[in-house]
Symmetry: C2
Subunit: 164 residues, 2 copies
């Protein structure tokens, strides 16, 4: 939840107040080049009274609890239900995404697609990503597709999280 | 400090253990297009047992305490004292930086320069950045230069932080 002692929420963020706080659950990953795997996940959205949401995501191995992936960045509502999202990954990947929010009963759906993927010299090649988040009350589900290591854009991750 | 109950530190991160934890202090900003300003800052480096450091930075107005800037991302030691750094900013800016660490008495110096700056559609134009961090015991000082809004690479920020 947002800090009640913090600054008031910005009017650009207010319609997306339902995102604020932490979400936890489990997901499944697959890709032609790897073995399928399960994971625990926590996603946190925050605000500081400015026109953006902070976003952090962390996953852990379903059996060992050891850290797997992480990503961090910001979601920027830019008017008319449109969003810009900037994310960095510890694997040396930077994503600039654009997309839209569509209101639905219980929350809504965010569809985000990469405008640019930037890689450091040692990063694995990812060229395109697509993310769909559906919020329905206290449930957040997402699907993540990527084009990586020369393969076409295709399914990689799906998870179902619950508001903490 | 790192969480003593967390995974052991990765050997790639071990030489940079001195970064871990939070640093607080004040800084000064200037640029030809804006009024000079002072700020409070907190920088936090973390690790999860993998070969990277997490990095978050937040600044607040020196008088009002209201949030100013923030950035978040990861520092990746890639061998031979070389680093890759990926950062995202809530203003819609993504930086991929490369550079080196040089050992010095009391710690050392990181010199990082942007390899790529990626902007969302609505972001202010930044084309190049340069960062120098000097750690000497419990003191962290940095200087930040940028080329923005058509101007050449030049000084923008300087701050002195102390280990919390």
């Amino acid at each position: 939840m947002s800090d009640p002692s913090g600054p008031p929420i910005h009017e650009a963020v207010e319609p997306f107040r339902f995102l604020l706080g932490s979400w936890r659950g489990t997901g499944q990953g697959s890709y032609p080049t790897i073995e399928s795997f399960g994971y625990h996940e926590e996603v946190t959205f925050g605000h500081v009274g400015k026109p953006f949401l902070s976003y952090t995501q962390k996953t852990r191995h379903i059996d060992t609890g050891l850290p797997l992936h992480a990503e961090t960045g910001y979601w920027r509502p830019v008017g008319g239900g449109r969003f810009e999202v900037v994310l960095s990954h510890p694997t040396g990947i930077l994503e600039s995404l654009g997309g839209r929010f569509k209101t639905e009963p219980g929350g809504g759906q965010f569809q985000l697609r990469s405008d640019a993927v930037t890689l450091t010299a040692t990063a694995v090649e990812v060229t395109e990503t697509e993310r769909r988040f559906v919020i329905d009350g206290d449930s957040l589900t997402y699907e993540f597709a990527m084009a990586a290591v020369g393969l076409e854009l295709q399914h990689h991750l799906a998870a179902t999280l619950t508001r903490v």
